[in-house]
């Protein structure tokens, strides 16, 4: 590693942290722009002015906005996301109990989807223009155009209602043996995979087609190199950056996808928690979940950037 790379990586990290701070500010501003008064809303129209004033004080709403902002920011940095407005329990604890479930779901999906998408994207690029490539192309256009809940309900109809292979709803807690694990995760993972593979395969194909049409690939062909050598030795090292970007971008779709999937399969993850929070207008919970998702997104994007920097030969060998 050299100084230039170090400096670039540092710039990326600083940029990511600044962006996270910006995002936090946006989230705070939006959730504090409520047309009504949170305290009033929570207690209902019939509440006495004293009760509303008391709750305002308890929630810190009587403080000036910038002071509330700084306090909230500091608490977020410390990992203290406040208490739920609905049931009073600490938000951190609510999230903590669900985070693992969401990570498992996302993890399994990534394990299935990333290799599948890379294989589809790379083979489609290598056989560019063939019938296979056109089928993959058409299939991925269809897949990116379809809402997640259509995929999910179709999957339930086929596998749970018609074939009765798996239960329609996920129930964690009684996972005895491999078969149960498969049964529980099959439909959610299938749905999520369907949604993100298409995106990732399209971007991977585009990245590789770009590299494969460059002069040095033509040169390698004219040196007598075989197809396998051209793809593995010549093309892929130059496509690492864009492919990492494709993976990160598609995995960030996963963040949106879990919101629908957890709801439809009644899966106890944080996305479901957040949707419930939005329905009940439980703002501290929504804020914390939003920060978590945005943080995950930034992490993915920053990792892709770092991969691209580390893979760039012009930066690696000064």
């Amino acid at each position: 590693m050299n100084a230039t790379i170090g400096r670039l990586l540092l710039t990326r990290l600083v940029a990511a942290i600044l962006t996270l701070w910006f995002v936090a500010t946006v989230v705070f501003v939006i959730t504090n722009l409520l047309p009504g008064d949170v305290a009033q809303e929570l207690l209902g129209q019939s509440a006495t002015p004293e009760a509303v004033a008391g709750l305002r004080k308890a929630l810190g709403l009587d403080l000036p906005p910038w002071q509330r902002y700084l306090e909230w920011l500091w608490n977020m940095v410390r990992g203290d996301a406040g208490r739920s407005l609905v049931n009073g329990s600490p938000v951190a604890a609510l999230i903590g109990s669900r985070l693992g479930n969401s990570l498992i779901l996302a993890g399994i999906t990534a394990l299935v989807a990333v290799p599948l998408a890379l294989v589809l994207g790379i083979t489609a690029a290598v056989y560019r223009g063939s019938v296979y490539d056109r089928i993959v192309g058409a299939g991925t256009v269809l897949a990116v155009s379809v809402p997640e809940f259509l995929v999910a309900s179709a999957a339930v109809l086929v596998f749970a209602v018609q074939l009765r292979w798996v239960p329609a709803l996920s129930q964690l807690g009684r996972l005895d043996g491999v078969l149960d694990v498969i049964r529980t995760f099959a439909l959610p993972v299938l749905t999520l995979t369907f949604v993100i593979v298409a995106q990732m395969a399209r971007m991977t194909r585009a990245a590789l087609v770009d590299v494969l049409s460059s002069s040095y690939i033509e040169m390698a062909r004219l040196k007598g190199a075989g197809q396998a050598r051209i793809v593995v030795w010549h093309a892929l090292p130059n496509a690492i950056g864009p492919i990492a970007n494709a993976i990160a971008f598609s995995l960030s779709f996963l963040l949106g996808g879990v919101i629908i999937v957890e709801t439809i399969f009644n899966y106890p993850g944080i996305a479901k928690l957040m949707v419930d929070g939005v329905s009940t207008r439980d703002l501290p919970l929504v804020q914390a979940c939003a920060m978590l998702f945005c943080g995950a997104y930034l992490l993915l994007v920053t990792m892709a950037d770092i991969a691209a920097i580390l893979a760039n030969p012009r930066l690696r060998h000064r």
């Binding site: 390698a220 062909r221 190199a225 130059n238 030969p313």
Partner: protein, 595 residues
């Protein structure tokens, strides 16, 4: 003797974006004897590269070899399967591409790529291949032959990469080498070195080759015979001396005439003319401007120039010397950070915002690429008519009449008025480009590489047009180019830029005679002449003179690192001023006249 390469009735078809096929090579036949080099010459779209690639059984995406035979030695290339083609490519036939920078894989060290074909074809072990590569590097006069292979492509200059690519082609001792415009992307001072290396390699190894180019003077140095191509058809096949002295086909004669542009007589004579444009003490560049008036990334430094009314000044230099920036500064597009630009005795503001509409009208800029200089969504009559409305408030029939006059002046048919630029040919677009500039009735016309993107025959016609315009309208022009032959054909005075500084000014007549600045001398001596012995009779510049121009430095002569006559302690401490020499030449060199 049986020829080594024999191509008969070769037909290649390409699929258009609409989906139907068109023939781009239409029944081409030629043959090459062992140890000889065949030149393929033609303009863009002549199919010369497509034919060269076909000898390796290769067709680019969307193209296919549709008919004919290609025999190399005992092998019929069109009958080979995938495996057979792999065994042919890089082993029996090797390829040297136009842009070495793009043809080397940026992710792999050079040595691994140079010896790749030797390893793929199982010709030798890795150690032996290394050994052989280093030998080839030496033969190609590549600096640091022992270690250069450890570097990555971006760490090596363009001229060196081109020679490294030749080593890559020769590592397997192929029967045939395809040279595909291998020096086109290089500056002339680099080109001559690469050509010398190629010529030597070809002679030493008795190489059979196909050399593709659009430059007749280059091919005359290398090829034994030449095939002239146009629109995918052979026009003429002749030995090199015969073609350049006595071409049979009319198109060959046109190519020949365009390769050595005739001098267009200047309407102005003598030194009597009044200065129209004066630039003094001008510096410009990009980035923040410091307290001393120098920008963070200076491109031009302390430029002095005077351009007399009605005269044509040629500005010449290699890529990156700042010549295009000079035109932009005069036009106000890139504001000068220091110094003054004076037109007709009036100081102009550095930027467009500070200049009056009348001042803007008096200077018109004609860009290199007509493709990007004309808005593709605007019809021709609006393109030419807009300056008429903008500067003179012309409307309706009056404007229409003037547009017709301008089209007439630039030899365009009136029917192009309703067309979009995309419907016109390259030469026609460049004429529209001129018509638009002339619509403003400028005093000064700035032409930035206006013929560089055009095929030679079309470029010659544009030069004729420019000469005619100068004669009829008495235009004052600044003509920017990297091509000395073009500049000489049309300019009265010549200014040489190197690394952002003026190193020499001279009257055009002094080009062939007189003492020049060492850089100007190198530049002039590097331009291939249209005779077969030019390369052999031209002395090689020393190794030191090759290489990349350094970053613009403020101390010392910018050419110091490459100069053969440099005197340390003198040339690297102070910037030499322009000093008069015999023959009207002014050169910025301490050493001229010193010995």
């Amino acid at each position: 003797m049986e020829p080594l390469i024999d191509i008969r009735d070769l037909r290649i078809r390409a699929r258009t974006t609409e989906g139907h096929e068109i023939e781009i090579v239409k029944g081409v036949s030629f043959s090459v004897r062992r140890g000889e080099v065949m030149g393929l010459i033609g303009e863009s779209g002549s199919g010369k590269t497509t034919i060269a690639l076909a000898t390796m059984g290769y067709a680019r995406y969307g193209c296919r070899i549709a008919g004919g035979t290609i025999r190399i030695g005992e092998t019929e290339v069109t009958r080979l399967d995938g495996k057979g083609l792999q065994q042919l490519r890089g082993r029996k036939v090797a390829y040297i591409a136009q842009s070495a920078a793009a043809s080397f894989n940026p992710s792999r060290p050079i040595m691994a790529q140079v010896i790749e074909s030797a390893l793929i074809h199982g010709l030798m072990g890795e150690a032996a291949a290394h050994e052989k590569a280093i030998g080839l590097f030496r033969a190609m006069a590549i600096p640091q032959p022992e270690t250069i292979g450890n570097r990555y492509p971006h760490q090596v200059s363009g001229g060196q990469l081109q020679r490294l690519m030749a080593a890559m082609a020769l590592i397997t001792d192929p029967d045939v080498v395809i040279f595909d415009e291998p020096t086109t992307a290089l500056d002339v001072t680099t080109q001559i070195e690469v050509l010398k290396a190629f010529k030597e390699a070809i002679r030493d190894r008795n190489t059979t080759g196909i050399y593709v180019t659009h430059d007749l003077a280059v091919i005359a140095q290398i090829a034994d015979s030449i095939t002239v191509l146009r629109h995918g058809e052979v026009q003429e096949i002749a030995t090199t001396p015969q073609l350049i002295s006595n071409p049979a086909h009319e198109y060959s004669r046109k190519l020949l005439a365009a390769a050595e542009p005739a001098l267009r007589p200047s309407p102005v004579t003598g030194e009597a003319s009044v200065p129209l444009l004066r630039v003094s003490g001008m510096s410009a560049g990009y980035g923040l401007v410091g307290p001393d008036g120098m920008p963070a990334v200076p491109v031009l430094r302390d430029i002095e120039l005077t351009l007399g009314r009605g005269r044509a000044l040629g500005v010449i230099g290699e890529s990156g010397c700042g010549k295009s920036t000079l035109a932009r500064v005069v036009a106000g597009l890139t504001p000068a950070s220091r110094g003054t630009v004076t037109l007709d005795g009036v100081d102009l503001a550095p930027g467009i915002a500070g200049r009056s509409r009348e001042q803007l009208r008096e200077i018109q800029l004609v860009f290199q690429m007509a493709d990007t200089a004309l808005n593709p969504k605007v019809p021709i009559d609006e393109i030419i008519g807009r300056p008429l409305t903008f500067f003179f408030g012309m409307k309706g029939a009056e404007r229409d009449r003037r547009v017709r006059e301008l089209l007439d002046l630039t030899h365009l048919p009136a029917s192009v008025r309703d067309r979009l630029p995309g419907d016109l040919s390259g030469g026609q677009k460049q004429r529209v480009n001129f018509a638009r500039a002339l619509a403003a009735q400028p005093k000064l016309l700035l032409c930035d590489e206006v013929t560089s993107a055009l095929d030679t025959v079309v470029a010659a016609a544009i030069l004729d047009l420019m000469a005619e315009l100068r004669r009829e309208l008495g235009l004052t022009t600044m003509f920017i180019s990297h091509d000395i032959k073009t500049i000489r054909a049309i300019c009265d005075d010549i200014m040489v830029l190197y690394s952002g500084r003026v190193v020499e000014t001279m009257p055009a007549a002094a080009l062939e005679t007189g003492h020049h600045h060492p850089y100007a001398g190198l530049l002039l001596g590097s331009v291939p002449a249209l005779r077969t012995d030019w390369l052999e009779t031209t002395p090689a510049a020393s190794l030191q003179a090759q290489g990349v121009p350094p970053a613009l430095s403020s101390a010392g002569c910018a050419f110091f690192p490459r100069c053969t006559r440099a005197e340390p302690g003198l040339c690297d401490t102070a910037v030499p001023p322009l000093r008069p020499l015999p023959g009207g030449i002014e050169a910025a060199c301490f050493r001229l006249g010193a010995d």
